[in-house]
Symmetry: C2
Subunit: 215 residues, 2 copies
DNA sequence: AGTAAAAAACAATCGTGTCTGTTTTTTTTA
DNA sequence: TAAAAAAAACAGACACGATTGTTTTTTACT
């Protein structure tokens, strides 16, 4: 049987005060999880093997397997960590924007920055792998859906002018989403062409201005 | 030393007349290559192992290794085959369009069909894998570049009205390219939403109409 | 008979999961 | 409070299965 999962272990250790052991445990877990993300970025999902992760983390594979029951558990924890990090970073970027005279430009730029962030390729890598790995899909999909949800809600809050026409908002978001992600993914196989991309970026901004409901 | 590559073998066999043996050889090679593509579509690039390909092709692994020196050779042949097939299918779709009163709608639809074709996910799968597999990248990149080139040239030929403003053409193509590919890739992790997609599709068409240089 | 195709067998490597043993920390108990 | 017991962190080694490339054997064709 599986006895208790690693997460449960942490929880029981955390109750009352945080002992040194629990601290160390959390610390190495974090190190391992970050190493896993780093490996996915460097070597791809298939290339992220347990010995490689352990090596990247600077711990023995035995220690790693003590904290996580199997490879999937490591990947799962990495996804969770990645999701939170991604969301936090995006929210922080949004929060840094001027609330009063918020321009479409700023929102667009924030999303662009998000999509060109190194961690985005990790998410994309996982998304592609999940197509043929149902187990992975089961872990990844909720995070993916949650992110889009959050993104939509944030946009709804931030751009009150659009609330009168949610269809337009949805269209605008789809346009931004697909286009920018398309550009980001193109970078994988084709060297970036700043000039062309900024032209596209500017055009997209024009489109949004035109789509914006008039008060 | 690698002695002669499988391709060379075929060539020597093909010179003079096409013997039945050479025919069979070409036939099984094709079967293997198609099986490889099928496997990439089904199990992903990492999951496409030599036993699986051979099994899918219905030949022994030994026979397969007789025709291809190693796994890379199979993949390489598959990419070449895929590229030609993709290009041919796209050209055929373009050729089927009405030459006289060609609408943007038709061109857009053709590209959309191309991007939702099952073989497109194979190409995308390979593109992602090539990020962390430089050997693969070396094979894939030329095909990728050639396809984009061909696409651009075709568009240039098909829409003479745009020739007066190549900047607009380039922008339009970037917009179409990134958006549609973005939608296609979204399908990997998120179930399609026909309504939203057609709305986006129609909007894209409007954008193109507006971008079109006036005569 | 001789050559190519196909199949099978082989050796080497690699990744995974499990198991055993050691050290350190925490908890219990005297 | 100090010693003993329990639990957790960690390291290394093992066995199993899978994949790859090579080599050997069998089959089919000309």
């Amino acid at each position: 049987m599986n006895s208790k999962t690693s997460t449960e272990k942490v929880k029981t250790a955390q109750r009352k005060e945080i002992g040194r052991q629990a601290q160390k445990s959390a610390s190495t877990r974090k190190i391992i999880v970050e190493a896993a993300l780093s490996c996915i970025a460097k070597y791809g999902y298939a290339g992220t093997t347990t010995p490689i992760i352990a090596n990247e983390a600077g711990v023995s594979r035995g220690a790693m397997m003590h904290h996580f029951n199997n490879r999937s558990a490591v990947i799962g924890a990495a996804i969770e960590y990645l999701h939170e990090k991604r969301l936090r970073a995006f929210k922080r970027a949004i929060a840094a924007l001027p609330k009063d005279k918020l321009q479409l430009h700023d929102g667009l730029k924030a999303y662009w920055k998000h999509v060109t962030h190194p961690l985005y390729v990790v998410f994309h890598e996982l998304a592609v792998a999940s197509r043929t790995d149902k187990g992975l899909a089961k872990i990844l999909q909720p995070a993916q859906a949650a992110f889009y949800d959050e993104w939509y809600n944030l946009s709804y809050d931030l751009f009150p002018q659009w609330r009168s026409n949610t269809d337009a908002l949805e269209l605008a978001m789809d346009l931004v989403n697909t286009t920018l992600e398309g550009v980001a993914i193109r970078h994988l196989s084709i060297p970036e062409d700043i000039e062309r991309e900024t032209r596209l970026f500017n055009y997209l901004e024009e489109c949004l201005s035109a789509l914006k409901p008039k008060l």
